[in-house]
């Protein structure tokens, strides 16, 4: 393959990986706070459809993006209420959220199927940086939503590991009782992180319908929400690793077509599509070994509802 094709494939990997990255970052926030939200797919779909609806109505994709985040955040708030306040089972509630989100988005989006978007997010080359050979076209010739993640990922990393609120966040996920004893408001913080997590999932959905496709189609996330959930484990709850992982998963997506268009290598596309899940399984196997768990394991209180009276 020529270098230009490699560059194009890497750039396509980033575009294809970004929606998964948004959703995975959101899920990392929620899971770091000790809440397992399996409703990512549903929240992404609701984000995708509301974002598209608003962007079509207003002609402003940023407006759509904003509303997508709010709508998915609202859905996450419902989830938070059920699991944090009412202490419902997180796995069951998450699955219910996905099913609800899938249905709701299909219902809302019905009249918008096949309608063209007047204005979508278009790639914008960053001056100077885009001129750098290889790195420029791969990293700095994308739509604004991709650049947003370049800022978001280091920001989250810094927040997690270098700030006091970040420490509190990890504490309520590891040992909420101890955090509570120290005067950290476990309930309020869990609410906040679950809702922000949902907003990011909505952003991932809006990326699909406003920049990647750009159109609305029932069930258009096509399992990307579940890939994001898997990616969180793959990335061991670390935003930087989530970035790399999502580009890897996105690369598999992009490679499916590039291999056909630019080479004579005939790897069945079904095989390639299977790879992200195999990789996740491998990481799961490694991550469950006792010696490793201490270093990179899941948040201690993940999926366990916090109840003050049960201390």
């Amino acid at each position: 393959m020529e270098t230009s094709v490699w560059i194009a494939t890497l750039a396509a990997a980033i575009t294809a990986g970004t929606p998964i990255l948004y959703a995975a970052l959101g899920e990392i926030l929620a899971e770091r706070a000790g809440v397992l939200n399996l409703g990512v797919e549903g929240m992404m779909l609701v984000g995708a459809v509301t974002g598209f609806m608003v962007a079509v109505r207003t002609g402003n994709p940023w407006m759509g993006f904003l509303v997508a985040m709010l709508a998915a955040g609202l859905l996450a708030a419902v989830f938070a209420f059920l699991t944090i306040t009412l202490r419902a089972n997180q796995v069951v509630t998450g699955l219910a959220l996905t099913i609800f989100g899938t249905g709701l988005s299909g219902f809302l989006g019905k009249p918008y199927v096949g309608i063209p978007l007047p204005l979508s997010f278009k790639p914008v080359a960053i001056p100077i940086l885009a001129e750098i050979p290889i790195i420029g076209p791969v990293l700095f010739n994308h739509n604004p939503l991709v650049y947003l993640t370049y800022i978001l990922v280091p920001l989250l990393w810094y927040y997690f590991y270098r700030t006091r609120p970040g420490l509190n966040l990890r504490a309520i996920g590891e040992n909420p009782a101890a955090a509570d004893a120290l005067g950290v408001n476990v309930f309020a913080l869990r609410y906040i992180y679950v809702i922000i997590g949902g907003m990011l999932a909505g952003a991932g959905g809006a990326f699909l319908s406003l920049a990647y496709a750009p159109s609305w189609l029932e069930n258009m996330t096509a399992g990307r929400g579940w890939i994001a959930v898997a990616l969180v484990i793959f990335a061991v709850w670390d935003p930087v690793k989530a970035l790399l992982g999502s580009y890897l998963f996105g690369g598999v997506d992009a490679l499916t077509y590039t291999l056909q268009a630019a080479t004579k290598i005939a790897i069945p596309s079904f095989f390639l599509k299977m790879l992200p899940y195999i990789l996740t399984l491998v990481v799961l196997i490694i991550a469950t070994r006792q010696t490793v768990v201490k270093h990179i394991g899941a948040p201690g209180a993940l999926a366990i509802p916090y109840d003050r009276e049960e201390r």
Binding site: A12, F107, L108, L208, A213, Y257, A261, A262
Partner: protein, 379 residues
């Protein structure tokens, strides 16, 4: 006491969500009345209407395959006021088909149009149980006493669109986003390639398979990979304008499919081979009503008007239009046949001798690429 509060809260929440959903849905209905408009107003005519049903693989708004059939249904409802034409959309090619077909037959539909290849076996199965219902299956090859098939020589307009692409390319590399490796798609790729090479013998056609009929994101991604590999005109055998949008984004050209796709890619879309099902649907339903319908294997042509080459983009120069229009007339007059020899396959072996034509059966079952196509047919 706390338990009671919880229950009330949950109930309120469910209520709020339901109301929210209903409210949004209601507004949407009002904004989109194009589908409702064409439904015959129930109860207006006292006499019994003849019921006809369509089942679609995609949504009616796909701007592609299903949209074209839906135009045909609307045409039918408009031309024959005594027909009540309903549809079921988004029926995937799976076990659900049997249920949907059975329901439609039970509801008293006299003619059922099944508009996707993968419905074939279900159509045959259900048709056995309802001998008094006429089933029309689009693009298949199995018929029965009460099952007819219908399709058309899309290779004719595809050949013409290939000529346009061959004239407009600068890199001499054309890209083709293809759905599934079945004869219908392979036939289209061959016709497109023959057309392109008839005006520009240096042209190569690169093929990428998406393994889906309908997935805007995947189709666009596949088109982008072809553009990255050097193609500067993107043709498609897909049901959404995704590939056209990719061409538009990169400032290259595209050839659409199913319907005029210029509105989705005004700068890029040069023209599109299009379907025009309406008149045929009228003919079939009238024949059933008059009792003259017989099971047949209908294969329409451009002469019948069931297929055509859509309008040109302003960017297509007059000389190219003249050239293509002249060839179109030759096809309509029966002076030119798309699959006439000599035709070589990818290895350079002559598959159709000079002066010979591929038979209808050979055309329908084609499983090899002509010379000039780059790509494999997955087994």
């Amino acid at each position: 006491m706390r338990k009671g509060w919880r229950l009330i809260l949950i109930l309120l929440l469910v209520l709020a969500v339901t109301l929210f959903a209903a409210g949004c849905g209601g507004k949407k209905e009002a904004g989109n009345n194009q589908s409702g408009q064409n439904q015959p107003a129930g109860g207006q005519a006292a006499e019994e209407k003849m019921k006809v049903a369509f089942i679609y693989v995609g949504p009616i708004g796909d701007a592609g395959w299903t949209w074209a059939h839906e135009q045909g249904r609307q045409y039918l409802a408009e031309k024959l006021p005594w027909v009540e034409a309903s549809y079921v959309e988004n029926v995937p090619e799976g076990a659900d088909v049997e249920r949907v077909l059975t329901e439609l037959a039970e509801k008293g539909n006299k003619v059922i149009f099944a508009t996707s290849f993968g419905y074939m076996d279900y159509v045959i199965k259900v048709a056995e149980k309802y001998p008094n219902v006429v089933f029309m299956h689009c693009s298949g090859y199995k018929t029965a006493q009460n099952v007819g098939t219908y399709f058309a020589a899309m290779e004719e307009p595809r050949y013409l669109s290939g000529m346009v692409a061959g004239k407009m390319t600068k890199s001499n590399v054309l890209g083709y986003v293809a759905a599934h490796p079945i004869p219908e798609v392979i036939r289209g790729i061959n016709a497109f390639t023959l057309g392109a090479r008839s005006v520009n013998p240096d042209v190569k056609v690169k093929v990428v398979w998406t393994n889906t009929w309908y997935d805007p994101a995947a189709e666009k991604q596949a088109a982008l990979s072809l553009l990255d590999a050097g193609a500067d005109v993107i043709a498609q055998h897909q049901d959404t304008p995704g590939p056209q949008q990719a061409a538009q984004e990169r400032g290259k050209y595209g050839i659409g499919y199913n319907s005029d796709m210029r509105q989705f890619a005004p700068e890029a879309n040069l023209t599109s081979p299009v379907w025009n099902w309406g008149p045929y649907y009228v003919k079939v339903v009238e024949a059933v009503k008059n009792g003259t319908w017989k099971s047949e294997d209908y294969y329409g042509t451009m002469k019948d008007g069931i297929i055509d080459l859509g309008p040109y983009n302003d960017k297509v120069p007059q000389e190219v239009r003249d050239l293509v229009d002249a060839k179109k007339q030759e096809i309509i007059d029966g002076k030119f046949y798309v699959f006439q020899g000599p035709i070589k396959d990818q290895s350079g072996k002559v598959r159709v001798q000079e002066g010979q034509k591929m038979s209808h059966e050979e055309v329908l079952g084609v499983n090899w690429f002509v010379e000039g196509v780059e790509g494999d047919i997955p087994k």
